[in-house]
């Protein structure tokens, strides 16, 4: 059955949260009036027309109690109508004849209205209180479930250190049923907490009424806990988070960092040691070079000079063979000296610190040709196809390269032949190719593979030389990040090609 709209609105006016359906409340009011009417009719032989409202007061009271203001009003109106019709003179009419009757009706109406209003306000107070209680309850449940669901331990202790709240995690830590632990003194549940840092810190929080935070290590379980204590009125909230994992990682990290630092410092030490060793080696090499140049060459100078003095001073007393022997001594000494010199140059070429810068190859080559006595003396025809392209290199090394290649080129010719050498450059990509071509004796195929090795001499005994010149050339070119190669055929001369970067 559909409830009339105005009743709904009237009801909404009175109650915020109606628990009973509106229609039910109206029907209950009507039914109660009907019951009261029936009982009153049954009492008619006993009472007559006296006490007409007798049963309708409780009816309104009960209706208002059950259905609040609306039901009270409906019961009141129905009661007045029925009483007027059945028990107030004239019977079977709604007319009111006397002032006494008016007083009677209005008194009932006023009392009933009062009852209904009181019922309504009482109901509202109860409803509001209930709502508030429900809200509080919901809130409590929410926080409790929130605290219960987090994985950290939460406890609240009162001023006597008695436990008034603990969440599941805290209960698990206590290892007893929660109900048993609630209300117990904290130190009875966790005796070990009393002995150390924990007690001091939490006491400080309580005494100074400040939040504290500390990390707590419990040796028996090998666990680390980050504890926070907050003053909460007379009580204290204690919050514990298991940070063992984090601590373990931190410790591991520290160990790793320490290992790394140790490793780094040992590496540094090693590098320093090696550097020192290397410096020592270099210094030793320096001393070695000095010894070679100074000490080993002194006897050679003596050999060369004194054999010469003998030849000069005792010229007449020696026969041709004597002079030949002396000449051989001098030749051997000179050769030994040249060897020592070339070995020194080779070692200097290998280890001296070099800087690469643009070099005017054209000027350098001309200088070398005009300055080197062995080139001048050979009366060679040296053709330089100027301008030679500049290269990125080192002047000392380039001087070694060019002078060695040139002296080879003018040296290895058939006896009686005038040496002819041609020098030119070409560019290829970002490199410069320097060519030195001679028309000398060339190199036979079987010697070509060893040409750049130390002490390799393709023409042993025929031509003077130490066999180090091309090794110096190769090393010098390599030090400047270049390459050297050659083409040759026996009897047809050789062409050396040095490839170096452009500046």
């Amino acid at each position: 059955m559909r409830t009339p709209d105005f009743l709904n609105r009237l009801d909404a006016l009175s109650v915020g949260t109606s628990q009973r359906p509106l229609a039910q409340r109206i029907w209950v009011a009507i039914a109660m009036v009907a019951v009261a009417t029936t009982i009153r009719c049954a009492l008619n032989p006993l009472l007559g027309n006296s006490f007409p409202w007798l049963l309708f007061y409780p009816t309104v009271l009960l209706s208002a109690w059950y259905g609040r203001l609306l039901a009270g009003l409906i019961a009141t109106l129905l009661s007045i109508a029925i009483t007027l019709f059945l028990w107030i003179e004239p019977i079977y009419s709604f007319r009111i004849q006397s002032v006494a009757e008016w007083v009677s009706v209005l008194t009932f109406a006023a009392m009933s209205l009062l009852i209904s209003v009181l019922a309504e306000s009482s109901h509202r107070a109860t409803a509001a209180e209930q709502a508030q209680r429900r809200e509080r309850e919901a809130e409590r449940r929410f926080f409790e479930s929130a605290l219960a669901s987090i994985t950290d331990a939460v406890m609240v202790v009162n001023k006597d250190w008695r436990c008034i709240y603990m969440n599941d995690v805290a209960a698990t830590m206590g290892r007893k049923p929660r109900q048993e632990m609630m209300g117990q003194i904290l130190w009875d549940i966790f005796p070990f907490l009393r002995e150390d840092e924990f007690y001091r810190q939490v006491s400080r929080s309580r005494e100074e009424r400040i939040p504290v935070r500390f990390e707590y290590y419990h040796a028996p379980f090998d666990t680390w806990t980050e504890v926070r204590a907050y003053p909460m009125g007379e009580s204290t909230a204690i919050y514990g988070m298991d940070i063992s994992e984090r601590k373990k990682i931190e410790a591991d990290l520290r160990v790793t960092q320490q290992k790394l630092a140790e490793h780094a410092s040992s590496l540094e030490r090693l590098v320093a040691e090696r550097t020192q060793k290397l410096q020592d080696t270099v210094a030793e090499l320096e001393r070695f070079s000095y010894t070679i140049s100074h000490d080993l060459r002194a006897p050679l100078r003596a050999l060369e000079s004194f054999s010469r003095f003998v030849a000069e001073d005792y010229h007449d007393k020696l026969d041709a063979q004597g002079h030949d022997y002396l000449e051989r001594i001098r030749g051997a000494a000179r050769r030994m000296d040249a060897l020592i010199n070339d070995v020194l140059i080779f070692s200097q070429t290998s280890r001296s610190e070099i800087q690469l810068r643009p070099i005017e190859l054209d000027r350098l080559t001309h200088d070398i040709v005009s300055q080197y006595s062995s080139l001048r003396e050979s009366a060679a025809h040296i053709e330089i196809q100027s301008p030679l392209r500049p290269v990125l290199g080192n002047e000392t090394l380039l001087t070694q390269i060019i002078s060695n290649l040139l002296s080879n080129a003018v040296k290895f010719v058939k006896p009686g032949q005038t040496p002819a050498v041609k020098i030119w450059t070409e560019t290829r990509d970002s490199n410069v190719l320097l060519f030195v071509r001679d028309h000398g004796i060339g190199v036979s195929l079987k010697h070509q593979g060893k040409m750049f090795g130390m002490f390799e001499r393709a023409n042993e005994g025929v031509y003077e030389g130490t066999g180090i010149g091309l090794a110096i050339v190769k090393r010098a070119v390599e030090r400047m990040n270049g390459t050297v190669s050659f083409e040759s055929a026996s009897g047809e001369g050789s062409t050396f090609r040095v490839e170096l970067p452009q500046p």
């Binding site: 320096e286 060459r297 002194a298 100078r301 003596a302 000079s305 004194f306 003095f309 000296d337």
Partner: protein, 149 residues
């Protein structure tokens, strides 16, 4: 050229000393020679000490040739000593060494050497170098030397 004044040669290698003397004679130095086998001996000679007290016999030298590597006191120490004894440093000093190390050359000049010559292994080369020295020395004005310092 003051032919009277000797040339002091600080050289521990007897052979090198003999070769040097012969080369010097060959290019025209007619001075007497004194060979000091150590730097210490050269200093004593310059100061006219001990056996060199007789300044008539051991006259203050006109020029000094010194090797670098010598026992007791080497060429560098001799140069250093000369430098810290200005009255002696009047003597022109030529280093004649087998070393071609840049460090040696630089150090010798820094210590006040007037020339640095590398001992060639070939006698002819030595002669041609010394000939240049002789010609140059001929042209130079010579300082007055003390009898000792």
């Amino acid at each position: 050229m003051n032919e009277e004044l000797p040339i002091l040669i600080a050289e521990d290698d007897e052979n090198d000393a003999l070769i040097l003397q012969r080369a010097l004679r060959k290019v025209g130095f007619n001075n007497p020679f004194h060979i000091s086998p150590t730097g210490t001996d050269a200093i004593r000679y310059l100061q006219g000490e001990g056996p060199y007290a007789d300044r008539e016999r051991y006259r203050f030298p006109r020029i000094l040739f010194t090797d670098l590597k010598m026992p007791e006191m080497d060429g560098f120490e001799l140069l250093h000593w000369l430098r810290s004894n200005p009255q002696c440093s009047i003597i022109p000093t030529l280093v004649l060494s087998a070393s071609q190390l840049d460090s040696d050359i630089t150090r010798a000049y820094k210590l006040g050497a007037n020339s640095y010559l590398v001992k060639p292994s070939d006698f002819d080369q030595l002669v041609s170098i010394l000939r240049l020295v002789f010609d140059y020395w001929q042209m130079c004005q010579k300082p007055k030397v003390p009898s000792k310092c």
